[in-house]
Amino acid sequence: MRLEPIANPGPARIYGLPALALGATVLVASVLALIAGANPFATLGLIVKGAFGSKFATLETLNRATPLIFTGLAVAVAFRAKLWNIGAEAQLYAGAVMTVLIGMHSWGAPWLQLPVMAALSIAAGALVLLGPVLLKTRFGVDEVVTTLLFNFIMLLFVSYLVEGPLKDPAGMGWPKSVPVAADLRLPRIAQGLRLHWGFALALISALLIWVIQTRTVLGYQIRAVGQNPQAARFAGIPVNAVLVKTALISGGLAALAGFSEVAGLKGHLSRDLSPGFGYTGIIVAMVALLHPLGVVLTALFVAGIFVGADSMSRAAGVPTYIADILMAVALLFMVLAILLTRYRVVWR
């Protein structure tokens, strides 16, 4: 079999296939529910209810989506330049570490110190990605592996910090960091809403990245470097400088995920701050075809599936692991569906 590009896919394809992917996910959910002895016909309703069925559910979904928007954007920016940043997880933790370092003592007015915290977190994340990128530009070392490896080094470093120098003396020996000062927590968007300004920051970032990608010289250069670095170099584009700039943006965005999780939700750093947000961000970005606004939608979709399916597992009495299964299945179906909106399969 082979794939043939479709010149002008119709709306039936563009909307039908992703819908089919969702349908197939629900089918898998129902089959799993059946196997687990639950009512297969209730799954769809329970998932939707669990994700968006109440103000509480919706807010939880948005909360869950926030770090995914950041990491998804981080990956989308980097992948545009064909900079395979698999290390959003590490950059996220770098941002989180910096947030704690700056935020553990309050030394200035929050309106001053919070932006400093955010900025230095961005710098920390950027720095973490800068390493692999310099190895790439200087020595030609493949960044897929180095960024992946940095994730584990970073996690061990965090583990060292929370068991050592940053360990909370009031934490009863539990491996977690000192807390961020109370006045340096990101405020809630509105009174009584469990949604903090990190979410708004994520949306703003997405818009900003979109503008950068489509309207600026840098955005154009990033794409040129991604598509054909040699031609870009010949045309006078400073390839390495563009890669470094890309890395700074990408690492910074991922770090904001850590910043927003720590300053917005957790208040401290621990080794399990991120249940794989950095990795899921990769999938989010790819499903979104690296489009920044698509990243927002995809992050909401992924968060919705997870929160909804997790809630469904409790309501239907199915083991909780079904949430991860459905998230994975939905994502795989979705990337396939999106591919097939642009290509047709020819059997010969």
Partner: protein, 509 residues
């Protein structure tokens, strides 16, 4: 009634890509011991036809018979087993593997436990000796020169006992010497009864090697002639469908020197020599030709001019002033250089970018295409429409991805991009490689026009005829050394050929 010597027969092959008919009921016969040339403009359907023959595409209609037996469609393995070998336009070799490994690939059942390297090596060496294809069987392919790689490709086919060999533009990337060696090999093969299909845009080669010529035009068979009954001019007319007129070339009016190299030396790189104390002056209103066998320092020269390389010693002067310290592609562009790169696919364009995005690749940092870091896409699109119109770029529109353009049209866009920026110095590196005659005439015409407007043009080409026709002054390049300038008409082809072969330049006056 079949001809006993007939080895291959294509009957009314038709292939459509969507609305486009790439091959329209094409028939072809091939006899043992003959060389058939397949000619046609870019996009005429030559490669498509051969891909069908080799089973990589499936024809919509028609059938193929090899050695009297029908060939199942869409099955390269069947084609190989039927004795058909193909050397693709773009080589299909694995760089990290050795020559021997590349040749052995796929020749033995996948599930067998041994490769019997010794026997294979002996067979390869025997074949190499017989056909004059010298190559080290244990060398990594990635280390080989283009000519050597092509020999490996031919050995691959011969190793599988191919009786029919298809060569798709085999000489497009070869030096004249390598091409001559290839023809020797082909003659030996034909003498042993192999049949060859040979695709080329170079009519003199076709006249030299082919027994018969088939001409395709827009996917249709435009004619078939015995080589001895035809002439290059007639072939060209058949390809294009009209008489081809060559531009009349008058001598240029030399102005002041716009760019000079003063005893420039650059380091050698991976087998390719750098420049050795090379001196050169590019004058306004002149075309300066660089003649030489590829791999003699042309890459270094081109890199120096385009800002990819700085001189290790010696000076680079622009309008008499030393070039900026940070000599980068951006600096070169800023100081008025225009560049038609050697490889339009790899370094000239970005395949997945639109025409517009490609058209401003080198100028996007300047107004009107950008201001203060912000792109102005409307201005860029307007500019692209201008180029499309002025340079007759045949394309769906400025928003089409450039990968869909044929080589000739891609080259026209590049030409427009360079010339519209109003460069004072134009570096044209192999500007017509792989183009058909119509496109070649167009590109040459534009270069001459730019010269006449006062630009200094430097033309790097391995095609000596092209250099001699166009250039007002010629430098021969050999082993990184540049000869003194030779004015138009003061040296014969034979002289230049000798100097190119490194027989020592005449001393500067």
């Amino acid at each position: 009634m079949t001809d006993p010597a007939e080895v291959l027969r294509l009957d009314r092959i038709t292939k459509r890509f969507g609305a486009l008919v790439a091959n329209d009921a094409i028939s072809l016969r091939l006899r043992a011991g003959e060389v058939v040339a397949l000619l046609g403009e870019n996009g005429a359907g030559k490669t498509t036809l051969m891909n069908i023959l080799f089973g990589q595409y499936v024809a919509d209609e028609g059938q193929i018979t090899a050695f009297g037996r029908a060939l199942p469609p869409g099955n390269p393995r069947a084609a190989l087993n039927a004795g058909i070998g193909m050397v693709h336009q773009h080589f299909t070799l694995a760089d990290q593997l050795t020559v021997l490994e590349n040749i052995l690939l796929g020749t033995r059942g996948l599930w067998s436990w041994s490769m019997d390297i010794a026997a294979a090596r002996a067979k390869v060496m025997a074949l190499a000796g017989r056909f004059g294809l010298s190559v080290d069987p244990d060398a990594r392919v990635g280390r080989l020169s283009v000519g050597e790689r092509q020999r490996v490709e031919i050995l691959k086919a011969l190793y599988r006992d191919a009786r029919v060999l298809i060569l798709d533009e085999p000489t497009a990337v070869l030096t004249p010497q390598e091409a001559e060696a290839l023809f020797d090999t082909l003659r030996k093969m034909v003498a042993e009864g192999l049949a060859v299909i040979f695709i080329s845009h170079k009519l003199n080669e076709v006249m030299a090697i082919a027994d018969r010529c088939l001409v395709l035009r827009h996917g249709r068979m435009a004619g078939e002639v015995e080589t001895r009954d035809t002439s290059p001019a007639q072939l060209a007319a058949m390809m294009v469908g009209a008489e081809v007129t060559r531009p009349q070339i008058a001598a240029g009016q030399a102005g002041r020197a716009l760019l000079q190299l003063d005893r420039v030396t650059t380091p050698d790189r991976e087998g390719a020599p750098g420049l050795k104390a090379a001196s050169l002056a590019l004058h306004a209103g002149q075309i300066t030709g660089i003649a030489g066998v590829s791999g003699n320092g042309q890459a270094a020269l081109s890199d120096i001019l385009s800002g990819l390389l700085s001189p290790a010693s010696g000076r680079l002067l622009i309008e008499g002033q030393p070039a900026p310290d940070r000599w980068t592609p951006a600096a070169a562009l800023a100081s008025g250089l225009g560049r038609i790169p050697e490889d339009r696919h790899k370094t000239g364009t970005i395949a997945d970018f639109t025409l517009t995005e490609n058209a401003v690749l080198e100028t996007h940092v300047r107004p009107p295409f950008s201001r203060g870091g912000w792109m102005d896409w409307a201005a860029a699109a307007a500019h692209t429409r201008d180029i499309i119109e002025k340079y007759d770029v045949r394309c769906p529109g400025p928003d089409a991805r450039i990968r869909l353009l044929s080589g000739g049209n891609m080259q026209k866009l590049i030409l427009g991009r360079v010339l519209e920026a109003g460069p004072s110095v134009i570096l044209a590196n192999q500007p017509v490689r792989g183009l058909d005659i119509g496109a070649i005439a167009y590109v040459h015409g534009q270069l001459l026009a730019a010269r006449d407007r006062g630009a200094a043009v430097i033309l790097i080409s391995e095609d000596l005829d092209e250099v001699m026709q166009l250039s007002d002054v010629i430098h021969v390049i050999s082993e990184g050394r540049l000869s003194p300038p030779i004015p138009r008409g003061t040296a014969s082809v034979a002289d230049l050929g000798l100097w190119m072969a490194g027989e020592g330049f005449p001393h500067a006056a």
